[in-house]
């Protein structure tokens, strides 16, 4: 089926529309497979939810009654169908821990995670692409080596270690920024930004090296092309050669790495959220695993997976759009 999807030429829509449609279909298929894996994986976890929930009061009769009320006595496939059907209608079920609808619980937390990730992305993406361009422009110079060394240092430390160092320096010694990133209702945007400055900075330091290095390498790769020599022979300045002639042809790998790092900003922030006590989705997931709140864990996993698939899909589409041969068909 996948092969069919990849191979089938979609004439009437033109090459780009066809490619986009196929990529979207593949993305949906991936998401479906991921949902099966999440459901199965969580179902295979040892221990019985009903026994766990009832704790001391677990008798065979109460366990059976609870299992029935939770729908756990039904076959796996039926349970999966119900779960997926609910999600498609926007119903993620109710939390086992506190009986609240998961939708509300997750939405607020996911919003927080996206907020933090967006702030970190808005700082780190322009910064790393800019630094990559500078490093490529002055390759071999002191500036190039400094940028390389510093970003390498920042990626080499574990993120929690970076986080603690930043807390010590910027929060405890300088007293500039709060070390706790708890958000409350009714906070203004400025206040919120102030609160999350440290986690955002930590995340920026973690992701910047990868994107900056790919920008630099990709630009340098394009610099060997004959059209770069041509641009130089037209009298273009080095900055113009890099920005106008090399960058438009170097986007594809850069976009892929940027998006991988954006996905990391959403999905991989659990550690940073825990360090800064930030009310994000990652922390909710960690808490729920401890409480064996299976439906919440499933919902979080699915959201993370959807983010990952969605962002990679975006990367593929942007790469296609970055290719002039696909943008302007013959």
């Amino acid at each position: 089926m996948v092969r069919e999807l990849i191979r089938r030429p979609a004439r009437p829509m033109g090459p780009l529309a066809g490619l986009v449609a196929r990529r979207l279909a593949l993305g949906l298929l991936t998401l479906f497979v991921v949902s099966v894996i999440i459901f199965l994986g969580v179902s295979l976890l040892p221990g019985d939810v009903a026994t766990e929930l009832l704790g001391q009061s677990a008798t065979p009769a109460t366990v059976a009654a609870l299992r029935h009320s939770l729908g756990l006595d039904q076959p796996l496939v039926a349970r999966y169908g119900l779960w997926l059907g609910g999600i498609l209608q926007g119903d993620f079920g109710t939390s086992l821990a506190n009986g609240r609808p998961i939708g509300h619980l997750v939405a607020a937390r996911f919003g927080n995670t996206i907020f933090l990730a967006s702030v970190a992305a808005l700082i780190s993406v322009p910064l790393s692409v800019g630094l990559g361009l500078l490093a490529a422009l002055y390759r071999g110079s002191l500036l190039d080596r400094t940028i390389n060394a510093l970003t390498l240092v920042s990626i080499s430390f574990p993120e929690f270690f970076l986080a603690y160092i930043l807390i010590v320096i910027l929060s405890m010694q300088a007293g500039l920024l709060p070390s706790l990133a708890t958000l409350n209702e009714g906070m203004g945007l400025a206040e919120q930004l102030h609160r999350i400055a440290l986690p955002a900075l930590t995340l920026t330091l973690v992701v910047i090296a990868h994107m900056m290095r790919m920008t630099r390498a990709s630009i340098l790769g394009v610099l060997a092309s004959p059209f770069i020599e041509m641009a130089r022979l037209k009298g273009a300045s080095p900055a113009r050669v890099i920005v106008r002639h090399a960058l438009p042809n170097a986007w594809s790998p850069i976009i892929n790495v940027i998006v991988l790092n954006l996905a990391y900003l959403v999905v991989g922030v659990v550690v940073v959220e825990v360090v800064f006590v930030y009310p994000g989705l990652g922390q909710l997931m960690v808490d729920s695993v401890q409480k064996r709140d299976i439906p919440v864990v499933q919902a979080c996993s699915l959201l993370f997976a959807a983010t990952f698939v969605g962002l990679n899909l975006t990367a593929d589409l942007l790469s296609m759009l970055a290719n002039p041969r696909l943008r302007h068909a013959r």
Binding site: E229, M230, R232, L233, K234, A236, N249, H328
Partner: protein, 526 residues
């Protein structure tokens, strides 16, 4: 240019070259690859490729040494007063921008008005005979053909009305008929603008059409220099003489035996494009059939069908009286052994990490079952056959010259003891003199071993040298077939005639006579 010395990795690639260009003069620079032509051409713009360095000398423009200028001042000259036209326009245009934007960029860089540059571009496009000049520039480089792209680059070079244009093999990557159009365009524009030009090429006949004066370079040194007519009629050096009149190889016609290869009704499509359309041909044993055509004519697809790299959509290939399975996988080892292929580019056909002995040893082991000492002895014998020193056996391809590499490819094919060779443009990547010696070798091997050759080429001179019979292909069809002499001397079809007429002749008046023929005058003598 005075005493220009350019080095790469400590070795000089240009030795104290002196070159003077008068205003309005066209100077031809000629020589084989590695002769330092391009290096000299780029040096005229004060530019040295990464890895090379201008070690000594001066490049003067109106008496001012541009090498002594700061880089920013040199940049102001490039594109404005000194322009460059690259060999492959397809590679030299930035794929991300529209043609006219790249044209107008010169105005942006050099602080002129981009809007009038755009209008000027349209006027130049019109003058160069580009289709729909008003909208031509709106296209991206991949949307136009190679010949059109080369003309667009010519227009771009003229954008700032430079004093000097350096043409670096601008027609080498083009088909002969396209080359003709581009040559006409270049001459027209340069003559009209009256600027000076350096025209670099390995093809003396092309240079002779344009240049007032010619310099012959070899191994980074000047061999000979003189006005075009004088140099062609009274060359002083042997090397120049060889370039002017390459030894005419003429193969005695061979009758041949029964058909060793018979292709009947073969069609191949890539997507909606028909690469081969109902192609049939047969090749008598021990003879050479040349398949001639321009790029896109389906020649290489034919080679892929014969060797089994591509299964035909329809039709059959018979080898030695028996139908061949369409795909490589279903052919017997013995068939694979008997039918060998030699490729256009020996650089990409040889594994750069394998020594010559390993490259030749592999077929010896797989097809003939030779190992160890016996394999080595046979490899030495093969080296002798291809007229290479056996000491080269332990070299890597990177340490060999282009001609040597192609000989190694021939030896590798011969190692399988084949009786049929498919040669796909095997001399196209070689310089004329080297190509001639490779062809000579191939002819001798054919005589000694009774090989049958399917020889694919776009070069008419090569056809004359080696073919017994010729088929001419155009857009996937065979348009004409016959013996070599019939097709080359008495072509019947209009396409064959056009193809033959587009081959540049050494006489400097050739281009004029072609143009005269077009304008209703008498047809040019071919």
């Amino acid at each position: 240019m005075r005493g220009l010395q350019i080095e790469a990795g400590g070795a000089a690639i240009l030795h104290r070259l002196d070159l003077t260009l008068a205003r309005g003069e066209i100077l031809g620079l000629i020589g084989e690859s590695g002769a330092g032509k391009s290096t000299a051409g780029l040096a005229a713009l004060g530019y040295a490729r990464p890895g090379t360095r201008i070690a000594a000398g001066r490049v003067e423009l109106d008496g001012e040494d541009i090498l002594a200028l700061p880089e920013a001042a040199r940049r102001r000259l490039r594109g404005a007063r000194l322009a460059y036209v690259a060999q492959s326009a397809a590679a030299a245009f930035n794929p991300a921008h529209r043609l006219i934007d790249q044209h107008a960029e010169l105005a942006v860089i050099h602080g002129r008005d981009p809007q009038s540059a755009r209008q000027d571009a349209v006027a130049l496009y019109a003058r160069l005979g580009l289709p729909d000049p008003g909208r031509f520039g709106e296209r991206s480089p991949h949307q136009v053909s190679g010949g059109q792209l080369q003309r667009a680059m010519l227009a771009m070079a003229m954008a700032c009305r430079p004093d000097v244009v350096v043409f670096d093999e601008p027609t080498t990557a083009l088909d002969v008929t396209t080359q003709l159009e581009v040559l006409i365009a270049i001459r027209d524009v340069v003559k009209a603008a009256g600027n000076a030009a350096i025209y670099i090429s390995h093809d003396l006949a092309v240079v002779a059409q344009l240049a007032d004066r010619i310099m012959v370079l070899r191994h980074g040194r000047l061999v000979e220099e003189g006005p075009t007519a004088a140099l062609l009629s009274r060359p002083r050096e042997d090397y120049t003489r060889q370039l002017i009149a390459p030894r005419r190889l003429q193969k005695p016609a061979a009758a041949g035996g029964g058909a060793v290869l018979a292709v009947s009704g073969v069609s191949v499509s890539y997507g909606t494009t028909r690469a081969l359309d109902n192609v049939s041909l047969s090749l008598p044993r021990g003879t050479t059939l040349a398949v001639v055509g321009e790029s896109g004519s389906g020649k290489s697809t034919l080679a892929r069908v014969v060797t089994g790299l591509r299964a035909p959509d329809a039709g059959t290939v018979e080898f030695d009286g028996r139908a061949l399975p369409p795909t490589l996988r279903r052919r017997s080892v013995d068939t694979l052994r008997r039918l060998q292929m030699i490729y256009q580019s020996p650089d990409s056909a040889l594994n750069p990490h394998q020594t010559v002995a390993e490259a030749i040893g592999r077929p010896l082991q797989v097809y003939v079952g030779l190992k160890g000492k016996a394999q080595r002895a046979r490899a030495v014998e093969l080296m002798r056959r291809i007229e290479l020193d056996e000491g080269l056996l332990d070299r890597l391809p990177g340490q060999l010259s282009g001609g040597q590499k192609q000989r190694v490819c021939i030896a590798r094919a011969l190692a399988a003891e084949p009786d049929f060779l498919v040669c796909d443009e095997i001399t196209s990547a070689l310089d004329p003199l080297v190509a001639g010696s490779v062809l000579e070798l191939l002819l001798r091997l054919q005589r000694e071993l009774g090989l049958s050759l399917l020889f694919i080429t776009h070069d008419i001179a090569t056809v004359g040298a080696i073919a017994d019979a010729v088929v001419v292909m155009h857009r996937g069809r065979i348009v004409e077939r016959g013996t070599r002499d019939d097709v080359l001397s008495r072509p019947q079809e209009a396409y064959t005639k056009a193809l033959l007429a587009a081959v540049p002749q050494m006489a400097p008046t050739w281009l004029d006579s072609v143009l005269a023929g077009r304008n209703g005058g008498p047809a040019p003598p071919v």
